[in-house]
């Protein structure tokens, strides 16, 4: 027998001794085709590497003649045969480039054939026994052959080159027509080397693909390796180990390995460089005869007595671990990190070299940034090891040169079980729990465990034969177990609530408690998988990407050429690694599983959306929906009326069924519709369907029971027309219509019966005439039963016109939605207008917000503009700072000294009292440290050191009245500490958040920052709004609370400090202005109006937002105008116009202005000189012109006449006017 791989597809072709050639798909493990034109054994077979061809070498039992057959597998037929060999053919091979076939035969010759010209190109003679094998060199013009004459020969066929020709050349045309063999090259193959060394017949010989090496297999039970050069060839070494004839041998195409198999029922792997056996695979009863390798993949096939095995030597699965959006994986002895979103792929470190085997698994620990890498040596499991590495944060050359960092121990597998613990399955099947230093902390004896998987903190998944068990490593207790044969991988969903267990052919999905949710069987091996965020498991088999829902629904998403290993699924992107460990991104169409998921989760709006927008494939989805009991959903997919009708009936949707029935107009449909409608009591539909099917009996009965006598009468007429006498009679009877019946009986010549009928019912006239007729015809006159009564059917109480009461079925989501969608067409006009309206409303609000935003933006700009001007004051502050520092040191010294002494005293007393146990003294608490480390008042408040905080506030900004601050103090203090419970039933322990927690040491502990400058600034908005709305007292409240909060701020830079000062000024201006405005109400006496106007005038000089300034000017203008102070009024008007008020205000103002300018005189002189700059005394509301004595509030900077010095500031209500102070201290930068 012989085997050959298809170069592209997952096919392997096997020729059998029986003469059959079988085409197998090794991935699907199915027999695809058979070619059975050979009668005798087929010993050689080979796929062409590009054409849809294969060649087989067969023979005939009777006349021992070998022939080659060339087949086209697409056309599934033998194209032609090549005759020439005089005995069995042993092997056949295509040339990789030329249109040649080489065959070796028992007739002691090797022949080369041109399959295009179908001619023998060359006959190579020289062996003096059966030639068992002959092969082309993969790149050079050489042939190697092995013979039972114990020799191996290398032939030079370069002389044949000129014989290679395409069928188009004239030469070959001639050759074909003449039928003569090629003129050239008959004797052009010359023996180059004869390799002698085997003691018995040689069965196989093959070239190395790149090196000048040959390997041979012989009946002397050894494999020999030969080397050659231009002039000679010599034996390199012998591989001993087979204990029977060696049938076949090949070089591994990509590694330094030799594979051989033989009649000792084993396949052996040899190290080519050391010529020692590495591995042996044995079969129980079957002798091996042949080996084949895949031209590109790492696959091999071996044929034995009873079949073949397709195998690979080692796992090709890349090892990787996924954490969030990061994939850690190993490639070429490097640990690499791939960020999925950015596809940034960097090497992190070089890994230590280990045993000659690929890595088996990786487990990553994000908390410690450490990985465990397991290397498992197949067939020598005891030699398996794991390495523990700490991963460098980023790739850097220095760390990557330092692979010794890792710790290595033996173990079959290692996975993390906690932040600082990992579990190792060791070779004696004991689970060791180790800490990060690789020290054993615990041992768990689980003799049946042969594999462990990650299962979250403190847990492990343990594989025992055909079970996987969830095991609590801490309690040493198994929690749950699920049946799955030889699970290979466990993949957890992102939130760890589901796990997929993958064995070779089984997928089991379980929940966190390892309760099985579903099981899926696959025919092809499962490879990998990952959970979608929506709880769909996306997995790969060797040829498909598939999905699985938790309820077990699954299906194919797309096919794959080569296996891939999914790392992450995100939306419709599947991130994966291929066998060459290249990161790849595949896109999938998630519609189908999204749809099914939405159905399962009853998210019908999504379903509907997908129904409308996505292109779902018809039949399968419909079948799915029907099967899963969603006929009403399926209804919306169906265009075919017949299916539609069926589905509509299934879900009892009579209307749609009626529609479909009309379109179909098929008798059976109507019948079915009638039945269903009758069941539902929808008798109108029943009537229609009976009409359509012309089912008069039923129709008549229907009319009877619905009491529709009119229609029943019509039915009688119809029956008459149809000459359906009995029907007509029956209806007449039902109607109680005696005349009709008598008439009918007469017509039917049932005169006597007609007479009886007439007589009985008292139709005497009719009876009489009938009597005469009977008498004339001499018929006997029937006797009339005198007791007969007229049977009159009961009269219907009411005619049932409408349907019977139908069960009110709530319209399914879909129907409703569908109806709506239908209606939108008609009502779209209305919909549009409402839409326009709704679109408009938010626009208005947007406008509003723009307005307020504008206010604020203006303020912002102003503040920035002012900054330049303020620099001066900032530097001024600096000077005072220095003084402050010297002063502050005093406090600093005070406190610790105090503490130390008390602590010392404690020690002493404790010692005296206890003798044997010394209770420790109290340490320094965090708040105490805050007090020590800061001179900012708020830090002291947070520390609960109110006394020092008040002292600081008093010294810095002159606060003397703390009523307004109480709330702020308590509130601030309440955020100083967080709480957590330690031991049950005991009160909380407190933790103290620090603002410099990253680099905090006892020396610089500082509490975290609560209120920030920006937040205070943003609070201005509310106060502004209150001002705009005229709620002055509330606005003052707000401004004051902002102002008072400023000394409790903490900011970083001096610029922030000056901004805070700005904030105070804004608040001050507003408070003065607003309070002044409110003071107008309390005015009394004669000159109320004049005084009021004065105050209004002063108000215009408060530094307010333009919006508010406009308002003040408007009011001042009005008042001045009323007082006939036209001169002042005109200046107000001009100032107002400069601010750009709204058009109507502007127009109004201009009018007033023109009036004023006609008579620019002030009738009542005021204490107001707008041209002379002044401050307003915040207590008496009189102007203090520049140069006049003034005293100020240390915090707000509000001005007062000197007589108010020492009083409480009217603006802050907390500070003392004119107190000497250090100034605002709100930043550590002010102390540097």
């Amino acid at each position: 027998m012989s085997l050959t791989f298809h170069p592209k597809r997952s096919w392997v072709l096997a020729s059998l001794h029986s003469g059959v050639i079988q085409l197998w798909d090794y991935r699907m493990k199915t027999l695809l085709d058979k070619f059975d034109e050979h009668d005798g054994p087929v010993r050689g077979i080979h796929f062409h590497n590009a054409q849809p061809l294969f060649v087989s070498g067969g023979d005939d039992y009777k006349i021992k003649v070998g022939w080659l057959s060339v087949w086209n597998y697409k056309q599934r037929r033998c194209l032609f045969t090549l005759l020439g060999h005089l005995d069995y053919i042993r092997t056949t091979f295509f040339h990789h480039e030329y249109p040649w076939i080489i065959s070796a035969s028992d007739d002691q010759t090797i022949r080369i054939w041109n399959w295009q010209s179908r001619q023998c190109v060359c006959v190579m003679t020289g062996h003096n026994h059966y030639v068992m094998c002959a092969q082309f060199h993969p790149s050079e013009d050489l042939v190697v052959s092995a013979s039972l004459d114990q020799t191996v020969r290398v032939w030079d066929i370069s002389g044949n080159k000129n014989v290679y020709s395409s069928p188009d050349t004239i030469q070959s045309q001639i050759q074909r027509t003449t039928g003569t063999p090629d003129l050239f090259g008959q004797a052009d193959a010359v023996v180059k080397h004869v390799l002698e060394g085997h003691d018995r017949g040689v069965n196989w010989a093959t070239f190395h693909s790149t090196l000048p090496l040959i390997v041979t297999a012989a009946d002397d039970r050894v494999v020999k390796l030969w080397r050659m050069n231009e002039s000679k060839a010599w034996e390199v070494d012998t591989c001993r180990g087979h204990y029977n004839n060696v049938s076949c041998v090949i070089f591994h195409p990509r590694q330094d390995l030799i594979l051989s198999n033989g009649e000792d029922k084993s396949i052996r792997v040899w190290d080519m460089t050391k010529r020692v056996a590495i591995n042996t695979f044995r079969r129980e009863n079957d002798r091996f005869w042949v080996l084949a390798m895949h031209p590109t993949l790492n696959l091999f096939a071996a044929g034995h007595d009873n079949g073949m095995v397709v195998f690979k030597l080692e796992r090709e699965r890349p090892v990787y671990a996924v954490v969030g959006n990061i994939v850690y994986y190993v490639k070429d002895k490097h640990l690499r990190k791939l960020e999925i979103v950015t596809s940034k792929d960097v090497p992190l470190m070089t890994l230590r070299s280990g045993p000659r085997a690929p890595y088996f698994s990786m487990s990553y620990n994000p908390a410690e940034n450490a990985i465990l890498l397991t290397t498992r040596v197949p067939s020598q499991l005891d030699n398996s090891i794991y390495d523990l590495y700490v991963v460098p944060k980023e790739s850097s050359e220095s760390t990557s040169q330092n692979p010794d960092e890792g710790r290595r121990s033996s173990g079959l597998n290692a996975v993390w079980v906690a932040r600082n613990r990992f579990a190792v399955l060791d070779k004696s099947h004991v689970i060791l729990i180790k800490n990060n230093k690789n020290e054993i902390t615990k041992k768990i004896q689980l003799p049946n465990c042969d594999e462990i998987f990650y299962a979250g903190t403190g847990l492990l998944l343990i594989r025992e034969q055909d079970h996987v068990t969830l095991y609590d490593a801490q309690q040493k207790r198994s929690l749950a177990s699920v049946r799955i044969t030889k699970a290979k991988y466990a993949i957890w969903s992102n939130d760890m609530s589901y796990v997929s267990l993958l064995s070779k052919h089984q997928l089991v999905i379980c929940n966190r408690k390892l309760e099985q949710l579903c099981m899926i069987q696959e025919n092809v091996p499962l490879k990998s998988g990952a959970w979608d965020d929506s709880g769909v498991f996306i997995y790969t088999t060797s040829n498909h990407i598939k999905y699985a829902l938790l309820n077990g629904d699954h299906g194919i998403i797309r096919t794959l050429d080569l296996p891939i290993y999914i790392t992450k699924v995100k939306g419709n992107s599947v991130f994966c690694l291929d066998r060459e460990v290249r990161p790849r991104l595949l896109t999938i169409d998630p519609t189908e599983f999204k749809f099914k998921l939405a159905l399962v989760n009853r998210k019908y709006d999504e379903v509907l959306h997908m129904v409308r927008t996505a292109k779902l494939v018809g039949q399968s989805i419909i079948a799915y929906l029907q099967k899963k009991g969603y006929p009403e959903v399926a209804l919306h997919f169906v265009k075919d009326e017949k299916t539609r009708f069926g589905l509509a009936l299934e879900c009892g949707n009579i209307d749609i069924a009626l529609e479909a029935a009309r379109a179909l107009d098929d008798k059976r449909c109507w019948e079915k519709l009638g039945e269903t409608a009758l069941m539902q009591g929808n008798h109108q539909i029943v009537e229609m369907s009976y009409q359509r099917t012309k089912n008069f009996d039923k129709l008549a009965f229907l009319y009877l029971i619905t009491g529709n006598l009119e229609k029943l009468r019509k039915m009688m007429k119809i029956a008459e027309v149809r000459k359906d006498v009995s029907g007509q009679f029956q209806i007449a009877m039902l109607l109680g219509d005696v005349d009709e019946r008598v008439k009918l009986l007469k017509q039917c010549n049932q005169k006597s019966m007609a007479y009886v009928m007439a007589a009985t019912h008292g139709l005497d006239e009719e009876a009489e005439s009938l009597k005469q007729v009977l008498e004339t015809s001499q018929d006997t006159l029937p006797e009339i039963n005198t007791k007969a009564e007229l049977l009159q059917p009961p009269c219907p109480i009411a005619q049932q016109e409408s349907n019977w009461p139908l069960l009110a079925i709530s319209k399914g989501f879909f129907e409703g939605a569908m109806i709506k969608s239908g209606q939108t067409g008609s009502t779209s006009g209305a919909g549009l207008t409402t839409q326009v309206q709704t679109a408009f409303t938010p626009n208005v609000t947007v406008d509003e917000t723009v307005n307020t935003g504008g206010d604020w933006a203006d303020g912002d700009a102003e503040m920035l503009l002012d900054e330049d001007g303020n620099r001066e004051t900032a530097t001024n502050g600096d000077d005072t700072n220095e003084k402050g520092e010297g002063w502050g040191d005093d406090i600093n010294l005070d406190l610790p000294a105090d503490l130390d002494t008390s602590a010392g005293a404690n020690v002493g007393t404790d010692d005296d009292q206890e003798g044997f146990f010394v209770a420790p003294t109290k340490g320094q608490s965090v708040p105490q440290l805050w007090v020590n480390n800061s001179k900012l008042p708020v830090d002291h408040i947070l520390a609960g050191s109110f006394e020092s905080a008040m002292r600081l506030l008093n010294d810095q900004v002159g606060i003397v009245e703390f009523e307004e601050y109480k709330q702020l103090f308590i509130q601030t203090y309440s955020r100083a500490k967080t709480a957590y419970t330690a031991l049950p039933s005991l009160p909380s322990i407190f933790a103290y958040p620090l603002r410099n927690w990253r680099d905090a040491t006892v020396k610089n502990y500082l509490p975290s920052i609560g209120v920030k400058l920006e937040e205070l600034v943003s609070r201005l908005q509310l106060a502004y709004r209150l001002t705009t709305n005229g709620k002055f007292s509330e606005a003052v409240e707000k401004f004051r609370s902002i102002l008072l909060s400023v000394p409790l701020l903490i900011v970083d830079t001096r610029q922030d400090v000056s901004e805070a000062t700005q904030l105070i000024e804004i608040c001050r201006e507003y408070i003065i202005g607003l309070q002044m405005s409110m003071a107008k109400k309390d005015l009394q006496g004669a000159n109320v109006e004049k005084r009021s106007c004065e105050l209004a005038a002063y108000f215009t000089h408060c530094n307010l937002q333009p919006v508010h300034k406009i308002m003040t000017l408007k009011s001042a203008l009005n008042q001045a105008f009323k007082l006939k102070n036209y001169k002042t009024a005109s200046s107000f008007a001009k100032r107002l116009l400069e601010l750009g008020p709204t058009p109507d205000v502007a127009q109004q103002t201009r009018k007033v202005l023109s009036v004023c300018e006609k008579n620019p005189v002030d009738e009542q002189p005021m204490n107001y000189d707008e041209h002379n700059p002044f401050d307003i005394c915040a207590a008496s509301y009189v102007p203090i012109y520049r140069g006049k004595p003034v005293t100020k509030c240390p915090l707000s900077g509000a001005c007062y006449l000197p007589e108010f010095k020492g009083q409480l500031c009217r603006v802050t209500r907390a500070t003392e006017i004119g107190k000497e102070c250090l100034g605002l201290r709100i930043s550590m930068a002010q102390f540097r």
């Binding site: 906690a418 932040r419 729990i433 800490n435 902390t441 615990k442 041992k443 979250g456 903190t457 847990l459 309690q475 040493k476 207790r477 404790d910 206890e914 209770a919 420790p920 003294t921 109290k922 320094q924 608490s925 609960g944 109110f946 006394e947 008040m950 606060i959 003397v960 009245e961 703390f962 009523e963 109480k966 509130q971 203090y973 309440s974 955020r975 500490k977 967080t978 709480a979 957590y980 419970t981 330690a982 031991l983 049950p984 039933s985 009160p987 909380s988 322990i989 933790a991 958040p993 603002r995 927690w997 990253r998 975290s1008 920052i1009 209120v1011 920030k1012 020492g1206 009083q1207 409480l1208 003392e1216």
Partner: protein, 300 residues
């Protein structure tokens, strides 16, 4: 408890639920499972303590008669009595002082005594009574008391002792987290991992969630803190730790003053005796007193 290769701990579930603050579950489990005779008392103690933690003192007082022979049961009864009756505390403590003078060796009784001294804020006595005991819980109590005394250095030593006894025990892990929180800096993240791991593995109780929140707030991760605190609030709308942490968080994230005040009022309503509130009340009084010391030099 010192065990490296002991049989599965049959009380593990109960014990863990108790430590992580899942008290009802602890009670449920205790009533459900059957344990060997020698573990019976330990199981009952955990159950009674869970009742106490839920403030259901009556259950314990009714169920354990004063005449019971086992000293552990008496000790736990004493704790229930202490907690249930504020007026009797003095006498109970007095009694305790006398008893402790003698030689009580049972570590559980020592623990209960330590508990009561701790509740009395007499941390020195707490340390004194438990300093000979070698149970993990006594170590944990010692750590807690030392933290109260701001002796992080000594607390670390105690933790080391605990780690040597049983590193993997839930209570040891929790104690590690407490110390990490007090240490601050990078250790906050480690503390967070401990709380998160326990929440993942068992149940996310308000106790564990508040632990996480404290770490988050300590690291300035306010958004994360918000979400864990919200979860804690959903699970128990009146947990004092949650309320306190919300007060801190709402102020640090610039929420309106009212938000923080709302939590504070709730706290005052429900836990007038909580040290946090007691401290705050005391501070308010102090503030009033101090404020009287200031006034403007000239009355207006």
């Amino acid at each position: 408890m010192a065990s490296q290769d002991r049989d599965p701990d049959e009380l593990f579930e109960i014990r863990t639920n108790f430590y992580i603050g899942n008290y009802q579950q602890c009670v449920n489990e205790a009533q459900k499972i059957k344990v060997p005779q020698h573990l019976q008392t330990e199981k009952d103690l955990l159950m009674y303590r869970s009742y106490i933690a839920q403030k259901k003192y009556g259950v314990v007082l009714d169920e354990i008669s004063k005449q019971v022979s086992q000293e552990e049961l008496l000790a736990v009864r004493l704790l229930a009595e202490y907690l249930s009756n504020e007026s009797k505390r003095e006498s109970i403590l007095h009694e305790l002082d006398n008893k402790m003078g003698g030689n009580v060796k049972n570590s559980f009784c020592l623990l209960m005594a330590g508990y009561m001294y701790y509740l009395q804020e007499n941390y020195e006595s707490t340390l004194k009574v438990i300093h000979n005991a070698d149970s993990l819980e006594c170590c944990a109590l010692a750590i807690q008391a030392l933290l109260k005394l701001d002796r992080l250095d000594l607390a670390r030593k105690e933790l080391k002792r605990m780690t040597e006894l049983d590193e993997d025990s839930v209570i040891t892990q929790l104690a590690t987290a407490w110390i990490n929180i007090s240490t601050g800096g990078e250790k906050l993240q480690e503390a967070f991992y401990i709380y998160q791991e326990l929440s993942d593995k068992h149940t996310a109780t308000p106790l564990l969630l508040n632990g996480q929140a404290v770490c988050h707030i300590g690291q300035g991760k306010y958004e994360e803190a918000q979400s864990v605190l919200q979860e804690a609030l959903d699970r128990d709308s009146n947990n004092p730790d949650t309320l306190i942490n919300f007060i801190v968080l709402s102020q640090n994230t610039g929420k309106a003053v009212e938000v923080s005040n709302r939590y504070l009022s709730q706290m005052k309503d429900s836990y007038a005796n909580h040290p946090y509130i007691k401290d705050l009340t005391q501070k308010t009084a102090e503030l009033d007193r101090l404020a009287r010391g200031y006034q403007p030099s000239v009355a207006s």
